[in-house]
Amino acid sequence: METISEKENTIVEEFEIYDDWLDKYNYLIEMGKDLPMIDEKHKVKQNLITGCQSSVWLHAEYRDGRIYFFADSDAVITKGIVNLLIRVLSGQTPQAIIDADLDFIDKIGLKEHLSPTRSNGLVSMIKQMKLYALAFKTKYELKTEN
């Protein structure tokens, strides 16, 4: 399994070939469209992260020491970024997710989507992913240490 920073580097390289914003956004939109749909049964209110502008559904599962994320958004550009975050964080260990700084978003020039004024649910989604990691770690890993 690739580490978070290896996955981040791959994405940065993918984006490096686009110097024009139009191409970059086209790629992002395609990735939004490609995001595997979250299972309808997980598209429930308790998984909904509401932003002022767009909303995100996030579901997490813990299997064999790793966390798997499933998500969706009503806006396709938000979904593209959601897809990137899932590529990087899904399948990682709770501790690695807690420690991830996710600066690849900045490196590929999409940091503005994480600014509080955007209010697209992404900032809350990252926070929620880390909270899941913390919760799973507490539930499954600290218990076995006792």
Partner: protein, 406 residues
């Protein structure tokens, strides 16, 4: 028509800037519009050579600043044809003006079982203060319906206007739909039913002539920053006999007549409602903005804006899959729309990248997103300095965004 938009654009320094290496096309004027250098200069002049606290000092500077501030009040009174300058209360903006009335009018006149009537198209700032007040007083907030075209349903308005209605509050112009409400008619209906009326003029003052005496409204509010003035300053106009009956809003300096620890007596109008050091520069900036509009010619400005709105409506209507919200025959300032199959956030993000500033989201009118069953809107809003070329660029960018997103 004697209206030279290119010459006017030269007065607005910010319009010269670029975003993402593209010329800025600023179409978020309903949120706040840009400031002419005459306003910027007035602010700088005040702080460079007149700055002083007002209504207290006996020194030269204080006297000058006080005189200037009170002259600004008179200019505002003339602008909306208020009978007297003492009926103009300076506030932070429309929101504070509405909160002031909701709090003080509520305390003085509203009791359990009474009703406040608003409309479905109100901005959150003309909903929430009334909700809070109704909660405190045990009153009920009622909402008059609108039609699919975004026009007030007059029959429903009349139905909900009863002997229990203590106050009616509505937008002169809707910030999301651009609908111009029949203000004079609504005031008459409300008065006949024995209710007082507050008009939220935030979106009206820059686009319509406003005459508070002709309207006969009891309160009228607006913000300086939506009429080419600075942020942080606004106006509450009120009828004298009502203002005099309202209890104080905030306590502090300036609003008092005499203070002992046992009892305080309050200052006269309008100072009674202006506790603390006011935003003097803001008021002077607003006055400069009003003078600027006069120098351009308010009538010519309104006519130019109406023609531009018609042009934009025509141009945008031709885009496949584009739905315009708000098709009132009486309309000004904004075109609000969505593209079929496209989220407003996605469209807004791409338009921004094309150098076009529009507003996306619920526009502080969440009930309207529910009414139309959409997560949000895209709004292009216009000022006197916008051009047909900018509208063309907007239409072009919408087409290109649409291709990318579909």
């Amino acid at each position: 028509m004697n209206f030279d938009v290119e010459k006017i654009r030269e007065d607005f320094p910010l319009l010269q800037r670029t975003v993402y290496n593209k010329p800025l096309i600023y179409l978020d004027n309903a949120a706040t519009n840009q400031k002419p250098r005459q306003v910027l200069q007035r602010l700088a002049d005040y702080y460079q050579s007149e700055n002083s606290n007002i209504h207290r000092g006996t020194h030269k500077l204080s006297i000058q600043a006080t005189t200037a501030y009170e002259q600004a009040r008179q200019s505002v009174a003339r602008f909306i044809n208020a009978p007297a300058a003492e009926q103009i209360i300076f506030t932070k903006g429309t929101t504070e003006s509405i909160n002031l009335v909701a709090t003080t009018f509520g305390e003085r006149f509203v009791e359990a079982g009474d009703e406040i009537l608003i409309t479905y198209m109100e901005h959150h700032s003309n909903i929430v203060p009334w909700q809070l007040m109704c909660g405190r007083r045990g009153a009920t907030l009622r909402v008059a319906d609108i039609t699919q075209d975004g026009v007030l349903d007059l029959d429903d308005f009349k139905r909900k206007l009863t002997t229990k209605t203590k106050l009616v509050a509505f937008a002169h112009v809707s910030n999301t739909l651009g609908t111009i409400n029949p203000a004079k008619e609504l005031v008459k209906l409300a008065h006949d039913a024995g209710a007082r009326v507050l008009i939220d003029g935030a979106q009206a003052v820059a686009h319509l002539p406003v005459d508070v005496q002709a309207l006969d409204c009891d309160f009228y509010c607006f913000s300086a920053h939506k009429i080419y003035g600075p942020m942080g300053n606004g106006v509450l106009y009120g009828k004298k006999e009502i203002l005099e009956e309202l209890p104080p809003y905030q306590g502090g300096g300036e609003m008092i007549s005499e203070v002992t620890f046992g009892k305080t007596t309050f200052n006269e109008l309008p100072f009674r409602f202006e506790a603390g050091t006011p935003n003097v520069a803001g008021a002077l900036g607003l006055e400069a903005a009003l003078h600027y509009i006069q120098s351009v010619g308010a009538e010519e400005m309104h006519q130019y804006e109406n023609e531009l709105l018609l042009y934009a409506t025509e141009k945008l209507s031709a885009i496949p899959g584009l739905t315009i919200y708000g098709n009132s025959p009486e309309k000004t300032g904004v075109v609000t729309f969505n593209l079929a199959g496209i989220h407003s956030y996605d469209a807004g993000t791409l338009l921004d990248k094309f150098g076009i500033a529009v507003r996306t989201g619920h526009m502080c009118t969440q009930p309207l997103t529910e009414f139309y069953g959409v997560p949000g809107f895209i709004r292009a809003s216009f000022s006197m300095y916008n051009t047909r070329q900018e509208v063309d660029a907007l239409a072009d960018a919408i087409m290109r965004s649409r291709e990318m997103l579909l």
